[in-house]
């Protein structure tokens, strides 16, 4: 069983309790405008290109079997359209300007990498987090990985946007210790506009997990101009209070780190606001949410 991932990061301290290893799945059914991981959108492997690092050596052009890299007019032109992400150009690039994003990984390899940090999990109450992209966009791989980790005694978190088949989520229940479930927008129309997908299925899945005894942390990206408003926090409070599985609410203030990555992918960023949203600025809303729900609320 193999899955397409774009990163495995150790010592993750923001993706669930304790010290965690996070596997980032590549591919996502949503297109949130503010996404800070635009390289996770499409499932196939692709090339990130940082023009400012390019030394115009032409090593990539020599390696590319399809002739997609061209050095002309004192510049480096890259025709992405025909690229199948073989990664040879990135392997040859001496300047680190080209980077292959996405690789296939087997369950055993991912698990053995995760188990290297087992000592840290036991010392800190940490474990493995499946994130993305959207892990549930590769349901078989997600299940196999979560299951084998769970059997190895590793605490498993699943970070999901919730846009997936209910049966797939149901199969995850026995081997996921904690769901980090995104809650982006309550309004269906706004959800469609900002994420490209309907939220009815998401809300249904959230309710379903709660009914089935899933333990849930509600993860709420807070985006100025999108959902940084009173009505949204009230919706968050309602969603949390009405679901007995929700144990905690995390507020995730907007940061603009996705803009540069989108540019390196040759895409136009969906959201061009370059200002960080200050953590402290959300403290009053966090206080209010605590008061409304009685739940712990953290600002990530």
């Amino acid at each position: 069983m193999r899955g397409m991932i774009f990163n495995i990061q150790r010592f993750c301290v923001q993706d669930g309790p304790g010290i965690r290893t996070t596997v980032f799945f590549k591919g996502c059914p949503l297109r949130c405008a503010w996404c800070h991981n635009p390289e996770s959108h499409r499932q196939p492997a692709e090339i990130l290109f940082s023009e400012e690092k390019c030394v115009l050596c032409g090593a990539c052009a020599a390696m590319c079997p399809k002739g997609l890299h061209r050095m002309d007019g004192g510049g480096h032109a890259f025709d992405r359209a025909g690229c199948d992400g073989c990664g040879r150009c990135a392997g040859a690039c001496p300047a680190g300007a080209l980077e292959l994003c996405g690789r296939w990984i087997g369950v055993d390899e991912a698990l053995s990498l995760a188990l290297r940090d087992a000592d840290f999990y036991s010392a800190s109450g940490g474990g493995l987090t499946l994130s993305g992209g959207e892990p549930m966009a590769q349901p078989e791989f997600a299940l196999a990985l979560a299951k084998s980790a769970h059997e190895a005694g590793v605490h498993v978190c699943l970070e999901t946007c919730g846009f997936c088949a209910q049966e797939d989520l149901e199969r995850m229940l026995p081997c996921v210790d904690l769901f980090l479930f995104d809650f982006k927008l309550a309004d269906a129309e706004a959800h469609r506009r900002w994420t490209g997908a309907d939220n009815a299925r998401i809300l249904k899945n959230l309710a379903f997990l709660g009914e089935q005894g899933g333990r849930i942390v509600l993860r709420c990206p807070i985006i100025p101009g999108v959902n940084l408003e009173k009505a949204h926090f009230e919706a968050v409070a309602r969603a949390a209070s009405s679901n007995r599985g929700v144990l905690q609410i995390d507020l995730e203030p907007y940061h603009p780190l996705g803009i540069d990555k989108a540019q390196r992918l040759g895409r136009r960023p969906g959201f061009c606001d370059t200002a960080f949203l200050d953590r402290e600025a959300l403290e009053p809303q966090a206080q209010r949410l605590r008061a409304l729900t009685g739940l712990p609320v953290t600002i990530v």
């Binding site: 301290v13 010290i19 000592d119 940490g126």
Partner: protein
Amino acid sequence: MEQLERLKREVGPLSVWARPSLKDIYLARGYEAHLDDPNVIARAWADATLFTDSEKYVYENDLVAGSLTGIQFDGPESEELIQAHRLVDSYGTRQFLTNNDHWAPDYATFLNEGVGGVIARIEKSREVHAGDAEALEFLDAMEIVMRGLSRFIEGYARAAWRKAEACPAHRRTLSAMAEACAHVVSDAPRTFREALQLMWLTHMAFRITGRYAMALGRVDQFLYPFYERDAAAGRLTEGEACELLACAFYKVGDDIVNIAVGGVKPDGSDALNRLSYAVLHAVGACNIPGPNLSARIHAGTAEDFLDECLKVIGTGLGYPALMNDEVNVAALSRYGYAIEDARDYCMVGCIENLLQGRQPPWTDGRFNTPKHIELALNRGVCMLTGVRQGPDTGDPTAFSTMDDFLAAFEAQLRHGASKYMRRFYNLNESVNPKSYRSPFMSCFCRDCIGRAKDINEGGALYPSVHGACCMGIATVADSLAAIEKLVYETKRMTLSHLAECLKADFEGYEPERHLLLAAPKYGNDDEYVDKYAVWFVEKMHEIFSRYRTRDGGGVYLAMAANTQNISDGRMVAATPDGRRAREALNDAASPMHGCDKNGPTAVVLSTTKPDYSLVACGTVVNQKYSPVMFTDDQLCGKLRALIRVYFARGGQEMQINAVSRAVLMDASEHPENYGGLVVRVSGFSAFYTSLSKDVQRDILQRTEHS
């Protein structure tokens, strides 16, 4: 800490190196009056005169008397001082490499008996050594200098009274200071304040003789009985003790004064007490580079103490350095010390393990290990200068296996170590011990008084030790892994071609350098390269542990560099890890900066593979985290867990900087805005803006995690 804050304002930023000293005027006065006396008697009178006659300056906002202020001056040297230098220099003094400083006095014994008690012991020893003229002469010298210390303290008592009279607003605190001084002129201290006062004035006495990096050692242990008595009697709160400590520590300035807290007691039980916390908070409140705090952590150390340590680190100070007690005790135990003594170790200077008041002062040097890879690849000839530096270990074309290359490298290392040790012996033995006795220091070392012998002539319980700091563990491991990978495994280049690339500093060989940089690197939890770090520690220990100091003590291995990884890097040609000629070697025992790409857990797993119980001097592993890791309780808990795993797996030392890259970059560009920014450099902390651009760059390049 209002008193401390007032003291800070009165004293201002304190650099103990910035102003010259008048000490030679007083030393010369002592020598002048005893020109026809035996050398050791003259030396004793010189120190005693310095203690007696030097100006005693008291700050009006201080709680603990004793500073360098009175002995320092501004402006050009007077004719009197120039004349004094001539006489004092002719007597000469021991230096760092001849066992002079970097030492921790036996305060535990001293505070129990006071000056009078020491003199009584000297008197008793006279009876034992009756008829032994040399011994009696040394005992006389010890008494002369202890009586000098007594007058030093008395002088401070008078200065405090005078200040109390001159400053009615501070009469209460200054009178208390004067009374504390007056009591310990001869008698043993009764209270925490008196004990601290006596310790501090003794420390200042060592300082004004010109010694630096004098450690205080296990302050939380030897002051605890006094604290406990006062606290039980309701005379002293933890906060008051903390403020008293802080007023003393603040006057350390930027000297490197090591203080050890926590750890185990001589009987092996947990040594942590309320004073450990008070010392930690006092050092944190001072917020200056000098008090070099070392926290001895063992498996049984309370979690909240580790948390408190992280909070102090998180203020940006960079200390306490966290020391693994289990590893250090095991490492010291290899040298035949009684287990109770090994458990009672402290640190001197940066991280060097020393048995407090039981052995002569510390010495160490730096060994440029990576240079020997260059020599092995070039038949013993320096690639930068063409000058022969090692034996001809053969043409690299003849090394058909990795083991062949390792054998040549090892031969170069053995020759280099012989040369290193010979240079040390030649220097270390350059003073005639009879003419360079230290009666003052000997009074604070077990069992110089009983044996009536100088600390450097067999008076100490244990012999002297030396630390060979083997630099470049990561540069070496990465280089060996690159050679194994590209020369012997994938055969992408021959060893002689590699040597050509290095000689050319990769000029015209960029593709080769690209391959070398892509080879496995230390710090990523990769056995392919980590095994060479294990090899490094075992091999260097084997090579250096065959040597002994002049008096039969151990030659310890150290894994530290201070900033010499930068200056020594300038003498090393390009290395097989892809490092260019003259660039810095890796910092201390940390992975090469920028090469630890798998995060802190991988760094921990890699850096705990070597056996640090072979490293008796100590190790420095630098880590840097964003300030939020220390201020957020949840994140701080995760950092604590990381450290626990690091220690449980046998890591020896970790020191952590809590500064963001952005802050450092801004500080490099606008030093005027960052006068007070303290960073931990290697074994010590320093003002960031006082560091050279090279060192600043090096600190920046060390990967910032999270």
